[in-house]
Amino acid sequence: MNRRLLKERLSMFALYGLTAGGGLILAVILITVFTKGAPALSVSFLFEASRNFGLEGGIFYQTLGTLILMAGAALVCLPVALGSVLFQTEFLHSPQLKKIFRLLIYSLNAVPTIIFGLIGYLFFGVFLEAGVSWVTGVLILAVMILPTLHVSIHEAVETIPKHYREAGLALGLSPGQQMRAVILPQSLHGIVTGTLLGLARAAGETAAIMFTATAFSGVDLPQSWTDPVTTLQTHILVLAQEAANPEALTNAWGAGLVLLAIVFILITATLWIRSGLEMEAER
């Protein structure tokens, strides 16, 4: 065998080997979550309140808390994200301003989530006097997922064919009418996928809410604006720190599996919608 061929074979072997290694690690992680989490799952685990500091009972209120925070964040974020995209695409005409706007949004996307927690607490917890509460959590997460929604919606609005807009303009539509009749319906997929991705991001976030929105025990549903919630993420966090206790660990894995399922369902839905669109485009 000549040396070039040998080198080719060897490097291909290394390529496959390393890729298999990486893939294997990721597969092991998923399998671990499923095998460790599955034994904890049962109807009562899903629908009962936790007892004895999470060692017994279920994760009903934790799941509700996660859902409340993520849904609230998406609800608060959506009008702002939509508005900022429309402002950028419909009212900003200078390329420089557009560029700066884009840069600011992209920078926001890179901010470590713990910083959203710190400054978010200062603004919503202290200045708005919401304290450590679900409202503070919702607002912090809404800011955190803003770039996710913005980028997704922006992409959809930017790819609307030019003649759709021109048709609207030719009919003499005002900017408001143009948005309602042309832009919103044509970018609906971006709004949906962006919101789903934002929900997934909010559901997976722990650092930004652990000291701003949640309490560990003695909490079920918030009764007022300033009540803390309990969430799957922080529930796992507290149980994980008692890793020496097998009961705590089993319940942590169970909660982890539920959390992972929520996130995966949201991302899969996004991918599914997107691939459907691609197929439509190919037709």
Binding site: V111, I114, S174, T206
Partner: protein
Amino acid sequence: MIQHSMFHEKGPVFWWTGLAGVMAAGTIVILFASLVIESVPVFKAEGISFLWGVDWFAGENYGALPMIFGSLAVTGLAVVMVLPFALASAILTSEFLSGRARLMVKAAMELLAGVPGIIYGLMGISLLTIWVRDVFGLIDGNTLFTAGLLLAVMILPTIMTLSEDALSSVPGELRDTALSLGLTRMETVTKVVVPQALPGLAGAVFLGIGRAMGETIAVMLVIGGIDRLPQPWFNLFAPGQSIPSKIGREAAEALGFDVQWSALIALGLVLFVMVMTLTFAGNVLLRKAR
């Protein structure tokens, strides 16, 4: 003419979108300004030596160096460990897989990039720390190395998929030319595609490092939580602390306005500056690649 009149017709739609736009774009400015303003008290108390002080005793003195070192060590370690795997799988996916298989891999990576940090943290605390302890014969498995290893696994999907984008954006004609000159497929990759995609690959790595540096929860659970420089400094099998893990551990007890809170915000400011520099560099490189 039409655009001109659109801009001047300031209906409710203009005000709603304008307000939203200002909120969206202004958030990052407010964030940065708050970090600067709120970290003033600790810089007044400690001076600029806050940045290289090595002791942190809440209520007495505040030095950030162990946390800055911890962040750099953990992130550097993660990047070194993840690069071979991420690049190999990116090259394989972009250059050797069929279109359909490529899309499947990309979808899987997108899914994996969404796995919450707390899941990795749980994995780290219940399995990885024990594993590291036994394999390396340590007393305690909560070390900088453990945190770096966990981070490496966490950022694998992100770096892989961004690198893959950079590789597959290299025009196909270059590959055809190289192959027609008699280069093997692997030679085409190493001598033509990778050099062409280098700025994009570097950009992908920078963005990945930025992401890794800000990761809080998983690192916090396995890093050991000791605010000390390891002795000697290159001993990464010692417990340490990163900036996000320090903030995560202390924020709840410091919530408020005293110097400890300000010191945590100042740590946040240091983190912010480091991450933004990386992200900015990454984006410049990515734009250059296009």
